[in-house]
């Protein structure tokens, strides 16, 4: 009798990895997407899409830094979402989606006002630097830009924030 061995069950492991990934990173990615999109509905939709993308990628175990990888996917996903929204706003006679430009939580008005004045790219840079404490090298990898460029942008961003204070 010859034993049956099947070799295609990476998906079983993928699903286990996915559960671990969702457990570990859901909140982080939601907060990040929410900060970029400024809207609960869009943020939850984005998180869902990001994790489904991760699942389709199918090589989760080989990702060295899942945190940065998920931020990168989330960043580009959210930017695309924002761009699509902007495009829609130029199409006449179509009811525009309403974007809640305020947090759904208790917040500081001044802080909120500053964040609204920042572009999504700037908000993302701020979060990765301030919240995640990422180096310019790491942020550069996420944004696919040289670290020196990121450093300059961050310095300009700090000046912009200071002027808004």
């Amino acid at each position: 009798m010859q034993p049956k061995i099947m070799t295609m069950t990476n998906e079983k492991f993928l699903i286990r990895e996915m559960d671990e990934l969702i457990e570990a990173y859901y909140d982080k990615i939601y907060k990040y997407c929410f900060s970029l999109l400024r809207n609960t509905y869009d943020a939850e939709d984005a998180v869902q899409e990001v994790f489904i993308k991760a699942m389709k990628y199918g090589k989760l175990a080989s990702i060295e830094n899942p945190n940065a990888w998920l931020y990168k996917v989330s960043y580009f996903h959210c930017l695309n979402k924002i761009k699509r929204k902007k495009l829609k706003s130029f199409i006449p006679f179509i009811e525009q989606e309403t974007t809640t430009a305020v947090f759904d939580h208790d917040n500081d008005d001044q802080l909120e006002s500053i964040l609204i004045h920042l572009k999504p790219e700037e908000r993302s840079l701020l979060l990765l630097r301030v919240i995640e404490n990422y180096s310019f090298d790491e942020i550069g990898q996420i944004f696919e830009k040289p670290p020196a460029t990121i450093r300059k942008r961050y310095e300009r961003l700090k000046v912009k924030v200071k002027n808004l204070l």
């Binding site: 009798m1 010859q2 034993p3 049956k4 061995i5 099947m6 070799t7 295609m8 069950t9 990476n10 998906e11 079983k12 492991f13 993928l14 699903i15 996915m18 969702i22 859901y26 909140d27 939601y30 907060k31 929410f34 900060s35 609960t40 943020a43 939850e44 998180v47 869902q48 994790f51 489904i52 699942m55 175990a61 947090f103 759904d104 939580h105 208790d106 917040n107 500081d108 001044q110 802080l111 500053i114 701020l126 979060l127 301030v130 919240i131 700090k158 924030v161 200071k162 204070l165």
Partner: protein, 315 residues
């Protein structure tokens, strides 16, 4: 807020407060997406297995598994026994193979080297409500290592003799089938179903082309000094992460410090399993004695299995 430091502090505080109000619902949505994928697995599982291996009877399975760690304590490969539920499509596949055994043997003889046949039993499809798409192919057998393709010889230099007694007798290669999506598989199933109806047959076949990449290598070494015949089979299989098997793995025990990577041995099955890790691929290597479980009189010690395993581990 008067300065950037205060702004940073406030930002952190507010960031911490952000919560996803519908978190559980979103997680459920993601989960339903991955559940869709796993529900498809049994069909694919059968596809892959049915084609390669002969019919086997499967008993009740206990859950167990083996995890192979490398010297850095990282998990390299996991082997799990299929659950009873996962075995259902395999039982169906067994029944279909039994029913069509002679037909399949006949069809195999028509397959040209480098090709395989998709085989669908339409009656079984209607009976089970799930398509059981088989791949039929022939093993590529060889009796000299000179026959092996260059990419194999570049990676492996197999010995003609092991333990000074066992001579290489025969080997066989299996090649990878092209990867196919679920949707593509279902297209083939529908095509075969229609073809079977048009030809008024209970089955239909469609030719496919195997890839040139080798999926597994089996080698047989024989000690033949009449009346004693002893054999060692070495199976080398590319496994990137894990496999499932219908074997009961509960009889395997871990052998500590015999190889650089983990090894497991089953006295009952006379089989030693270990993993060879390379920069390109991970290989699961089985060293087993096909005779001993059947003819227990000729016992080969675990130490002999370890010696054989070391030879292939160090290649």
């Amino acid at each position: 807020m008067k300065d950037f430091d205060t702004f940073e502090k406030k930002l952190k505080e507010q960031y911490e407060q952000i919560e996803s109000p519908n978190k559980q619902r979103v997680i459920q949505k993601i989960s339903s997406h991955k559940d869709k994928k796993i529900r498809r697995l049994p069909t694919f599982a059968m596809i892959c297995f049915g084609l390669l291996l002969s019919v086997a009877t499967v008993g009740a399975m206990n859950f167990n598994g083996l995890t192979f760690f490398n010297k850095n304590a990282s998990s390299v490969i996991e082997i799990e026994t299929m659950t009873d539920e996962e075995m259902i499509p395999h039982h169906q596949a067994d029944d279909i193979s039994m029913k069509n055994r002679k037909l399949m043997d006949r069809l195999r003889k028509t397959i040209e080297p480098g090709k395989f046949l998709h085989f669908l039993d339409v009656e079984a499809y209607e009976q089970y409500g799930e398509p059981n798409l088989f791949h039929l192919h022939n093993f590529d057998t060889f009796r000299s290592f000179d026959y092996l393709p260059v990419d194999i010889t570049a990676r492996w230099t197999f010995p003609k003799t092991i333990l000074e007694q066992y001579e290489f007798k025969e080997g066989r290669l299996t090649y990878d089938s092209p990867e196919s999506s679920y949707e593509k598989m279902m297209e083939i199933v529908e095509q075969l179903k229609q073809q079977a109806h048009e030809q008024n047959q209970h089955y239909a076949v469609l030719e496919g082309e195997l890839l040139s990449s080798v999926h597994s290598i089996s080698l047989q070494y024989e000690y033949n000094e009449f009346p004693i015949i002893k054999l060692f089979n070495i199976d080398i299989q590319v496994i990137n992460k894990g496999i499932k098997t219908n074997e009961d793995l509960s009889s395997f025990i871990k052998l500590n410090n015999v190889l650089e990577t983990d090894a497991y041995y089953s006295e009952e099955q006379k089989k030693l399993l270990f993993v060879k890790e390379t920069a390109e691929e991970n290989y699961l290597i089985s060293v087993w004695d096909p005779w001993t479980p059947v003819v227990p009189a000729e016992n080969v010690s675990v130490q002999t299995f370890i010696e054989v395993a070391k030879i292939f581990h160090d290649l």
